[in-house]
């Protein structure tokens, strides 16, 4: 059975009849149903092809690790094209730069290159650990801006570790090494690092308290932790206000701006059931809302720059590529979305879902 249950949606921003439809396998049929509903002017919510039978089965720890590794191995080498993520868009990047560094052209590594010495760290940091390094993009950026010199990167995914290592060498960097490690169980040599950097990895960590203690021990006296993180709703349990804003914007987008690179029509956002995460990346946003609170228990936050994302991140996911640089319609729509996020965040109506933090152990 393709369509399992319907219900009218109460918070319908467009005034149209919206149906909640759960789409089971196979994806091909789900896509065609999606297209058919779109043709009828109906917006769809759907649980991304989640098998309903899996919804109640808890995952074992080993299975969860395997699925996380599998998820990140499927990430293609050239995932950067077509762009899927909000920060891949130059206009968004400039807005983020402005929010973090005060100027649209000042990138995060440039901002850090100024901020870290003011907090007492000599750059380039002689020895750095990069936790949850993924494919090492942030590490290479930091190297190019003379923030780091020798660096050891750790990631759970063997594919990411291999790619990070290869990309560092391919880009002419010879002072990096990469190792496989789970941030929930990682052991770091005490007082070994001048700097620990974490980008978009704390929100994948279940054992936050243990990890923070490990980092605090691994830092040399005067050493600093830099975290660039998603700190928004745990398991993407969007706030009502957030869904209202994002879905309102999605509804007014021209249809061609809502197409994913895979040819699907991007559905309105909704809160996903646990099975969604089990099927995709079980570590996704696992305790993201607690990232800062737990950090403050053993670190002193010395510098903090929230940079929004409550609207732009869910809005643009998978459709960023449709916003072409230099296209007036794209730029107008993007500028509006950025302005709405600025205004609602400023007014306290929305939280900032992303932040850069520099902290030192208490």
């Amino acid at each position: 059975m393709l369509l399992v249950g319907y219900s009218a949606h109460a918070n319908n921003p467009s005034g149209r009849t919206l149906h909640r439809v759960r789409l089971a396998e196979p994806p091909g049929r789900a896509q065609s149903a999606n297209r058919a509903f779109r043709g009828a002017g109906i917006d769809l919510f759907y649980f991304n092809r989640v098998g309903l039978s899996r919804m109640v089965e808890p995952l074992s720890a080993d299975e969860a690790v395997r699925r996380v590794q599998d998820f990140f191995s499927r990430d293609s080498e050239r995932r950067s094209w077509p762009w899927r993520h909000w920060v891949a868009l130059p206009m968004v990047e400039r807005a983020v730069n402005r929010r973090i560094g005060g100027a649209p052209d000042r990138t995060l590594p440039q901002t850090l290159a100024e901020a870290l010495p003011e907090l007492g760290l000599r750059l380039p940091a002689a020895r750095t650990a990069s936790l949850g390094c993924g494919r090492g993009r942030f590490d290479r950026d930091l190297f190019r801006h003379r923030v780091v010199e020798a660096l050891v990167g750790y990631d759970l995914s063997p594919d990411s570790v291999e790619a990070a290592d290869r990309w560092a060498r391919s880009a002419g960097i010879e002072s990096f090494a990469y190792r496989q490690a789970d941030l929930n169980t990682i052991e770091l040599e005490p007082q070994a690092f001048d700097l620990v950097v974490v980008q978009m990895a704390l929100h994948h960590t279940q054992e936050l308290e243990r990890l923070y203690e490990t980092i605090a021990r691994a830092l040399k006296p005067g050493g600093l932790l830099v975290a660039d993180e998603y700190v928004g709703p745990t398991r993407f349990f969007w706030t009502e206000r957030q869904m209202q804003a994002v879905n309102g914007l999605l509804t007014v987008l021209p249809p061609e701006k809502r197409m994913t690179p895979d040819g699907d029509f991007k559905p309105l956002i909704e809160r996903q059931p646990p099975s969604y995460f089990e099927q995709t990346d079980p570590s996704e946003a696992i305790r993201s809302r607690e990232v800062v609170a737990r950090l403050e228990e053993c670190f002193e936050i010395r510098w903090r720059r929230p940079y929004g994302g409550a609207i732009l991140h869910p809005l643009l996911y998978n459709i960023a590529w449709t916003f072409k640089e230099g296209d007036p319609v794209s730029e107008t729509l993007l500028a509006s979305a950025i302005a709405i996020e600025d205004v609602l965040t400023e007014a306290g109506d929305l939280d900032s879902d992303f932040a850069v933090i520099i902290a030192s152990p208490r």
Binding site: R78, S80, W81, R135, R140, R169, S170, A171, G326
Partner: protein, 519 residues
């Protein structure tokens, strides 16, 4: 005669139900109620022409013609009969187990319910399977994919195919002719010149020819029947007409064809028939060569390496006046820095020459704002069409090579999502001219490696890498190290003359005659 009667007499009127006499027969034999029931069913069955009297009579000849309809309704359907060519009882019951379980007349069920429910009265016609295109781009892409990440696997595939293969050999000093179409792309001509130069350096007597020799027309010179023939870019040589005549594909028989096109393109497809006729195929792309061997063509990889004293790539002191150079200052046009001078003395920061595909356009648009920091010279050709010398060409070899000799970085972006190692741009324009090559991820190679001979980064990171190389002393040191190592590797270890000699020389067997082949 009234039209209806006339139609009835011709037998072309659709049956409207039981005939009067048949109704009377049924009433007499089984009672009026039964006759009425059958008559009602008959009307239903005839309403949309499902019952065909003539078809029924010819299909089931043991049934009297006049009783066909009542026979079907009373017992024919139980025997598995169909009412006409428009309904297959057996299929309907098989496809609809609920009907079979109810043990009712399937044709009546279809008329009463099935038609409205969208059930099918006949099996779907089996479409004849389309002839499978062995050389379909998707199949070629799928075959390429594993080799893109594993160069050794590509070499192994080629080596495996060599067993039992009769590969052409050329005796030392033998005459060799390298053909390229005179109205083809300038880059093909460049490759043909390079090949000719390498063959001469390898000790053969090579000369450059064009289609006139093959067509025996004006100025074509002597024939070359006793000469080993190489044909560069068969997709042009056998397809571009000269005065209305093209070189026939069977002319490729006995020749060695050099494929330079990416396998998924229309250009490769265009040259395919000639490639199939060839004595042997050389492909300038490692992965393509491996795939062609898998698809049954006798193919080897031809690394377009260095040829000492190759005059076309000598330092270009003055650049020609061509559209692609119109924006260049006179001072840059008229002065070529020494090949071994430091990169920072080269006036152009970034050079790109290539067709502006939609993919490249998107990536350039995204990089544009950041690239404005640097002196870029991009020759973006606005169509996927050949650059023909003296006609449409925005630039020529002199211009392209001269630009590369004045550039710090030669940038490489893929035209499509296929990560081909664009040998011509990366090696001939880049490494050979001692520029630093920066590319997005490319297929693995055996001769050159990322980080050692060129730099690579995902395409959204390229501009960061460029900023670092051009904007920092540390980056510039890396650039110098990499481009010098690349040049050393190319000139010392990737020599096209040696590669050709090893590939074409007679091995342990006695030296064969000119243009003979190993068995």
């Amino acid at each position: 005669m009234r039209p209806m009667f006339a139609a009835a007499k011709r037998g072309s009127l659709p049956s409207r139900g039981l005939g009067f006499y048949e109704f009377l027969r049924l009433a007499g034999e089984h009672g009026l109620a039964h006759a009425k029931q059958v008559a009602g069913d008959a009307r239903l069955l005839c309403r949309n022409g499902l019952f065909d009297r003539d078809w029924y009579a010819s299909t089931y000849p043991d049934v009297p013609v006049r009783r066909g309809l009542s026979h079907f309704l009373e017992r024919g359907w139980r025997d598995g009969h169909s009412p006409g060519p428009g309904f297959d009882s057996g299929f309907y019951l098989q496809a609809n187990p609920d009907v079979a379980a109810a043990a009712i007349n399937p044709a009546l069920h279809f008329e009463m319910y099935g038609r409205n429910e969208g059930r099918s009265p006949l099996p779907a016609p089996v479409a004849p399977a389309p002839p499978q295109d062995v050389w379909a781009p998707d199949r070629l892409r799928a075959a390429l994919a594993p080799f893109h990440i594993d160069a050794d696997a590509a070499l192994t595939a080629i080596a495996r195919s060599e067993k039992g293969l009769s590969w052409p050999v050329i005796a030392p000093g033998a005459e060799v002719a390298v053909f390229v179409h005179s109205a083809g792309n300038i880059f093909m001509n460049e490759i043909a010149e390079l090949l000719t130069g390498a063959l001469n350096a390898a000790g053969y007597a090579a000369r450059l020819c064009d289609e006139r020799t093959a067509l025996h027309v004006d100025g074509g010179g002597e024939t070359c029947e006793a000469t080993t023939r190489f044909v560069v870019a068969p997709h042009e040589f056998f397809c571009i007409a000269r005065n209305g005549a093209t070189v026939p594909c069977d002319w490729a028989d006995g020749a060695i064809l050099v494929n330079v096109e990416q396998l998924h393109t229309k250009w490769f497809r265009q040259g395919l028939e000639a490639l199939k006729s060839a004595r042997a195929v050389l492909d300038i792309n490692l992965q393509s060569a491996a795939v062609l061997t898998q698809f049954g063509l006798p193919t080897r990889f031809l690394a377009l390496g260095y040829v000492p004293d190759f005059s076309s790539f000598a330092a270009r002191g003055r650049l020609p006046e061509l559209p692609a150079l119109a924006t260049l200052e006179r001072s840059i046009k008229d002065y070529c820095p020494a090949p071994d001078c430091r990169l920072k003395e080269r006036p152009i920061d970034i050079l790109f020459i290539g067709f502006l595909s939609p993919r490249r356009a998107e990536i350039f648009a995204r990089m544009a704002e950041r690239l404005t920091r640097w002196r870029c010279h991009f020759v973006l050709l606005d169509g996927d069409s050949p650059q023909i010398r003296g006609q449409s060409a925005a630039l020529d070899t002199d211009a392209a090579i001269g630009l590369a000799q004045r550039s710090k970085i030669v940038l490489n972006l893929h035209q499509t999502d296929e990560p081909y190692f664009e040998w011509h741009r990366i090696v001939l324009q880049g490494l050979w001219q001692r520029a630093l090559v920066i590319t997005e991820p490319v297929a693995a190679q055996t001769f050159f490696a990322a980080g050692e001979h060129y730099l690579a980064a995902p395409c959204d990171e390229l501009v960061d890498l460029i900023d670092w190389i051009l904007g920092t002393a540390q980056g510039m040191r890396v650039a110098e190290r990499v481009r010098n190592e690349a040049y050393r590797r190319l000139t010392q270890e990737v020599r096209l003359d040696k590669i050709l000699f090893e590939m074409m020389s007679p091995r342990a067997s006695p030296a064969p005659l000119n243009a003979e082949f190993e068995s």
